[in-house]
Every structure is written in structure tokens, then in C-alpha cells.
Amino acid sequence: MTQPENTQRRTVGIYRWLAGGRRGFEGYLYVLHRISGTALLLFLAMHVFFTAARLLGQETWERLMAATQSPVLIFLEYLVYCAFVFHALNGVRLILVELGFAVGKPDHPAYPYRGSIHRQRPLAIVLMVITGLLIALGGFELLRFPHG
């Protein structure tokens, strides 16, 4: 897109994803989905290399696994779990919505406007409540009873 003469290009970018705290519910889910996805990809890359330590024998493996029982790493493991639960359940909604199943049929545009947002909102709320429950449950298990 060419910039017309005598106009001022405004800064765009990542901070506008948040729109100064004025996004709607789905807008924040969109931002969280991106953040959790990036975090999970980073974790996956690390995970592939760290689990390769099993090729180095039992002793190395057990030393590495003992190291993962430190409070910091347990908390990070919990964050990965949270990211996964959120990304998975929000992803279920996104698959349904983006394939056109949860957005409803085209409506007559008459007041009060109730469009696709209202149509898929109950699904979003139910899935986020389940996410909250699973995160709480996982927190209980992962943080309070560290295994090993």
C-alpha cells in the first residue's frame, strides 16, 4: 500500500493488540492465544533437546530429572501446563468458529444488533470456566505435591 503524500503514518504494531485495555472478551482471548502459542513452541523446542538426554544413559537422565524438581522449574512446568490448557480449549472454540459452525446464519441487521459474538459467547464462557477449573486443579497437583 503506497503512503499518500502529505499524510502522517501512525505507529502500528504489537501494543495495539491490547488497544489500551479496551478490547472485548474475544479480543483478549486472541492475544492470549498468540502468547500461549509462542510459549508452547519455545517449550517444545527445548523439550526436544532436553529429552534427548536419555541417549546419554541412566545417570545423566536421573540427574537431569532431579534438577527439574527445583521450585522454579516446577513453576515453569505449571505455566506450560496452563498455556496448553488455555490454548487447547480456546482452540476448540476457534476451530468451531473459524469453520463457520458457531457464528450463526446471517441475520437481519436490526436493533438491538446481536451478531456472531453473542452466538459464540456462551461457548467461549463455558470453555474458559473449564480452563480455569483445569488450571486450578493442575495447580493443586503440580505445585502442592511435586512428584519425585
Binding site: 502522517q8 502500528v12 488497544a19 457464528v103 456472531s116 459474538i117
Partner: protein
């Protein structure tokens, strides 16, 4: 009457962003943002620039950012906003010409890029033979909602994808494309497909639904885009059900006896009655 502060982001051609400027305006019942702007220009600062035409939510000229949300200035009553300070900025995701005037050229360029008109193989049937393209009410309902778009650019300012990718087609052009794809008289799906499924097309929409939340006309662009995606996927899988646009001759002609409507002529003025 409460005293309001209009906090306006000023942009001057050549000088760029000159920061926020406060104006004090007395509120009155039924007063809109647009009324406030008129008041400021008439009584306080004649150099303040914004764009408007109809004052009643039809023309789509006066989109701007009110307290961090894209809206129409004429459609927003100051009493519906909380607090006495109202911040106004030009629409996001567009370059600024002056003060609250965004340059919407990119919107119209993207709009015309998706062929927002009926595309037909029998292109000579342009209505000049006096026949019409008939359509059932059920067929009309497939896209009626998306015809209400007034091209105000509010959805484009709300879109988080456009915030990071200025080349993304955006909610309004994608909705316009779906409006014609879903039209029973149209057969331009394949012509639009390359653009819609391209690198700046539908795959960058992730249903943040900000466009639908912001739309002042209830067009629901987010719904149109998801339905568009479904069509593109069904098309890719080769299972998109699509009857070809009915030929003009396949439907009833306009007049009852199959006659052509008489050509429209401008009636000549009556002779001078005095003579």
C-alpha cells in the same frame, strides 16, 4: 449542565503529531461527539479538522477513536460515555491527513481489489434488455446483513491484525467479498479466490471479533469472514455446493405478459396552458 473536556489528538500536515489538546465544552441532553466538535470549531479553534456529512450514521464519514474505541462521532452521545473527559483520535490503522481526518485510500483500494460487484459469465446481460435477475427472499437472506456496510473504516481501525499488518485485506473488504460470493446471482467466487485466500487474505483473521463489536451498522464482519473461510475450505476440498448463477432467461421476465417494459423517457414539459 456538566462541563466536558474534549481531549483531541492534533496532527498538522508537515509538522506531524503535535500532541493532545484540551477543549472545554458544556454538555447538553442529546449532544453527540459531532455536536461537540462543531461547538469547538465555532467557538474555540477554527483550525480543528474532522470529516462528516450526514450527521445520522448513514454516510460513514465521521469514524474516529472515542476513549480508545472506534466509533462514529454522530452515533455517540456524550451522555453515554462515563467520565467527563472524552479523548478523540483519528482512526487507527490509517495514515492521518490532519487532526481527526484519516486517509482512507487503503480501505478503498482493498475494497476494489476483491471485485465487490456481481461477476457473471453472461456479462452482456447488464439489464439493458429490460429483464431482471430474480432472487428469492431466502437467497437474499444469505447476504442481506452484509449489504448494510457504509465503508466508514471503523472495523478496520478495530482490527488487531491490521494493527500489525497494514497489507491485510481487513474486515470490510473481506465482508464485501463474501457479500457477493453468497449472492445467488453472482459467479465470481473463483475470480475473488486468489485474493481472498492469498497471503494477506482470510488466514490472518483469528476471530478477535473486534470488527463486529465496533461496527455501527450491525454488519458483523467477523461472521462474514468465518463463513467465507468455510466456503474456501469446502472449495479446496472440492465439496463446495454452488449452483451456477441462474441465466437471465431462466427466470420470469419483468412484465406480466412477457412484454418488455417501455423505455423510460423524460416527459416533455406541458405546452403553455395560457395559449
Amino acid at each position: 449542565m456538566a462541563q466536558l473536556t474534549f481531549r483531541i489528538r492534533r496532527f498538522q500536515p508537515g509538522r506531524g503529531d503535535t500532541g493532545w489538546q484540551d477543549f472545554s465544552v458544556e454538555s447538553s441532553p442529546g449532544m453527540t461527539i459531532l455536536d461537540g466538535l462543531h461547538h469547538i470549531r465555532e467557538h474555540q479553534d477554527g483550525s480543528l479538522a474532522w470529516r462528516h456529512s450526514c450527521r445520522m450514521g448513514v454516510c460513514g464519514s465521521c469514524g474516529l477513536i472515542v476513549n480508545g474505541e472506534p466509533r462514529l462521532a454522530c452515533n455517540t452521545q456524550v451522555e453515554s460515555l462515563t467520565g467527563s473527559r472524552i479523548s478523540l483520535e483519528p482512526l487507527w490503522n490509517f495514515p492521518v491527513a490532519k487532526d481527526l481526518v484519516p486517509d482512507l485510500s487503503s480501505l478503498f483500494e482493498k475494497h476494489s481489489a476483491v471485485a465487490p460487484y456481481l461477476v457473471r459469465d453472461d456479462s452482456e446481460d447488464d439489464g439493458s434488455d429490460g429483464r431482471e435477475l430474480a432472487q428469492s427472499p431466502a437467497e437474499l437472506d444469505q447476504f442481506l446483513q452484509f449489504t448494510s456496510c457504509i465503508k466508514c473504516g471503523v472495523c478496520m481501525a478495530a482490527c488487531p491484525t491490521l494493527a500489525s499488518d497494514p497489507d491485510f485485506l481487513g474486515p470490510m473488504p473481506l465482508t464485501a467479498a463474501y457479500r457477493y460470493n453468497a449472492d445467488s446471482r453472482d459467479s465470481g467466487f473463483d475470480a475473488r479466490k486468489t485474493k481472498l485466500a492469498g497471503r494477506h487474505g482470510m488466514s490472518h483473521c483469528h476471530y478477535a471479533a473486534e470488527c463486529s463489536r465496533a461496527c455501527p451498522k450491525g454488519v458483523d464482519p467477523a461472521r462474514a469472514i468465518q463463513l467465507l473461510k468455510r466456503d474456501l475450505v469446502l472449495d479446496l476440498l472440492g465439496v463446495r455446493r454452488r449452483e451456477p448463477a441462474p441465466p437471465v432467461d431462466g427466470r420470469a421476465p419483468r412484465t406480466r405478459d412477457g412484454l418488455q417494459a417501455p423505455p423510460f423517457t423524460v416527459p416533455s414539459p406541458p405546452e403553455n396552458p395560457d395559449e
